[in-house]
Amino acid sequence: MKNEYRPYTLIAELTYRCPLRCPYCSNPLGYAGHGNELDTDTWLRVFQEAEALGVVQLNLTGGEPLLRDDLERLIERASRLELYTNLITSGIPLTFERLSRFATLGLNCVQVSVQSSRSTESDRIAGAPSFHRKLEVMQWVASLELPLTLNVVLHRGNIGEIAELIALAERVSADRLELANAQYLGWALKNRAALLPTREQVETARTIAADARERLRGTMEVLFVTPDYYSVHPKSCMDGWGRRFIVVNPEGLALPCHLAHTLPGLRFDNVTKRHLAAIWHHSDGFNQFRGDGWLPDACRSCDRHSKDFGGCRCQAFHVTGNAGATDPACSLSPDHGHIESARSQASHLAGVPILFDYRTGRGFSQA
């Protein structure tokens, strides 16, 4: 039986390899033990199956997608399928020639992330010298007239730089600025004490971002993603489980979000074994948290569940141990105490120097 859901976006995690080591990396913690990456032909087939299923947006991401030497072929096919293709990258390693090739082959836009507006701090957080190269890459993007999204993951250490970050985005003629507070999952959860900002920091940053949003309306889109630890209601994570997004991870697991396979007891299928449409419509994992049949009581009785779909399943699991619980970020969750305690810890630790556990694993040379 086909369901009513249509995926609009395919997030293709081409690799977990990355030359950077950001302490809030959204890749799973145990990635070093993962198997082989999908080959080119499989990705090409996945794109085709995704397009047939209704996908119109393609995010090429990782890890660092530039480490795939078949990126040209992937972009070319995506373009032929009329997928709106977005390269999400640190910009390393890249040459102007390669980026021009991508543009010629039909790449639609580029998202580059910086870790801070200051080079030494950016390099410190990234765990590798990278800031100056990123600036150069952003200039290349602009010179090729590709739309540029500048992405910054916000945390205690850089949230105070919000005005400088906006100025940086204007300087590099970004089309879009994503000021996204870290999601406290995976590496970021491990480093939460070092990363979670205080409420005052968040409020100040939000006000500055809102002003810039108004001032730059029509020129640059300024997006400020509040940390859900400081919002009253949870985020509608991925716009709801299995509603609009498919993530295919480097080994070929098709997932509702990039960490769904870290939840225990869920079964997900691999694109090497099953057609994407069959996975989307029929796999147990995708159907597990679709609709409202699974909702816990706290959500079922709340009329917001049609907006936030019960929040983030991964956060529910990683904080409460139960993936089917109400997202603890919700003030109505019986487990909200965990979030409150993290907030008071953040306020207590304000001003204390931060030490990260850097992301480690294969795929980069350790300095």
Partner: protein, 339 residues
């Protein structure tokens, strides 16, 4: 009390009853002065046309509406012929009808005008049917015929004297069209070419007639007024076109940002407007608007074009839809050249 040259009302006319007529030269000079300053070559619409600033649709609109005027000319001339007791005058004037209607099917000025219509990409039958003529244009042209019907032979002839200024305008127009609208074949411009010669001859004959017959100051003044009336009718015709062009009063030329991609969505049968991270599903009208955001069409052109193809929707509603949709796009940074 200072004597004023009356231009309105019988009283003023009576005051001038005993004023001596102007010399032939002074009378022609007066006619030329009043006519040339009011002639429609000064109209902003003609300026836009001759500077290459009309879109294809606007040019088509002009050709289509002006055809109604062309169809009134032989009728007006037949009325003039019917007013004369002089066989020689009638013979001369009948040429004008033949110039427009031709000696036989497929000849004459009206046919040439339909060639022009074809040349600018219009459906000739649509033009010939006169069904899409703007109401104001119809009113202006009918007003001219009515004026000729009601006035004396002398005034009716005098009202044709706008032709004094036509040859210059026609030459200018041919140059401008060749330069700015090269997509119109030069064959289609035959009408303008023909008028250069005809209008010189016709206006010469008409001037002679007027000079011979306007033997009092009062009659001379009536001739000047008839000419002014006619110039105003031509002016009004362009006003109507110009107003339609300005449905929204907005002549900015929006262009979709390079980051936008339009793609057909097989699943919904609609178009999607895609941009980084997301997209919009477009209604049929929104798709039409988006496709016209090329940087060449003004907001007015877009509204006008949609009004033409969606006669079931009121122009006001179309105007609102266009503005709203463009604002939505601009607010998301998806549009250039539009505030």
């Amino acid at each position: 009390m200072e004597r004023r040259v009356g231009r309105d009302g019988d009283q003023a006319m009576k005051d001038d009853q005993h004023r001596a007529p102007l010399s032939k030269e002074a009378f022609v000079e007066w006619l030329t002065r009043e006519g040339s300053t009011r002639y429609h070559d000064h109209h902003p619409f003609h300026k836009l046309m001759h500077e290459g600033n009309l879109t294809k649709v606007q040019l088509q609109q002009w050709v289509l509406n002006r055809y109604y005027y062309q169809t009134r000319i032989p009728i007006k001339d037949a009325l003039i012929v019917s007013k004369s007791e002089d066989p020689s005058f009638r013979r001369t004037w009948l040429h004008r009808i033949q110039d427009h209607d031709g000696q036989q099917e497929g000849e004459g000025g009206l046919t040439s005008w339909l060639e022009l219509a074809r040349g600018v990409g219009l459906d000739v039958e649509e033009v010939r049917s006169l069904r899409s003529v703007l109401p104001g244009v119809r009113l202006a042209c009918d007003g001219y015929v009515q004026f000729v019907r009601d006035s004396s032979l002398l005034e009716a002839v005098a009202s044709s004297l706008t032709e004094l200024f036509a040859p210059t305008l026609m030459s200018h127009r041919i140059e401008a069209w060749k330069h700015h609208y090269p997509w119109v074949s030069s064959d289609a411009l035959g009408y303008f070419q023909m008028r250069i010669a005809c209008a010189s001859l016709d206006s010469k004959q008409a001037v002679e007639f007027v000079v011979q017959h306007a033997l009092t100051y009062e009659l001379q003044e009536r001739c000047v007024r008839a000419l002014i009336k006619k110039a105003e009718i031509l002016w009004h015709l362009l006003d109507c076109l110009h107003m339609t062009n300005r449905m929204t009063g907005d002549i900015s030329r929006p262009q979709l940002s390079p980051k936008v991609r339009l793609r057909f969505d097989r699943r919904t049968g609609r178009y999607l407007l895609l941009y980084p991270e997301t997209g919009l599903e477009l209604s049929r009208t929104a798709t039409e608007i988006a496709r016209l955001c090329t940087g060449e069409w003004t907001v007015d052109d877009i509204a006008q074009y949609l009004a033409q193809i969606h006669t079931e929707i009121s122009p006001g509603e179309i105007m609102r839809d266009v503005r709203d949709f463009l604002k939505t796009l601009a607010g998301r940074g998806l549009l250039q050249g539009f505030k």
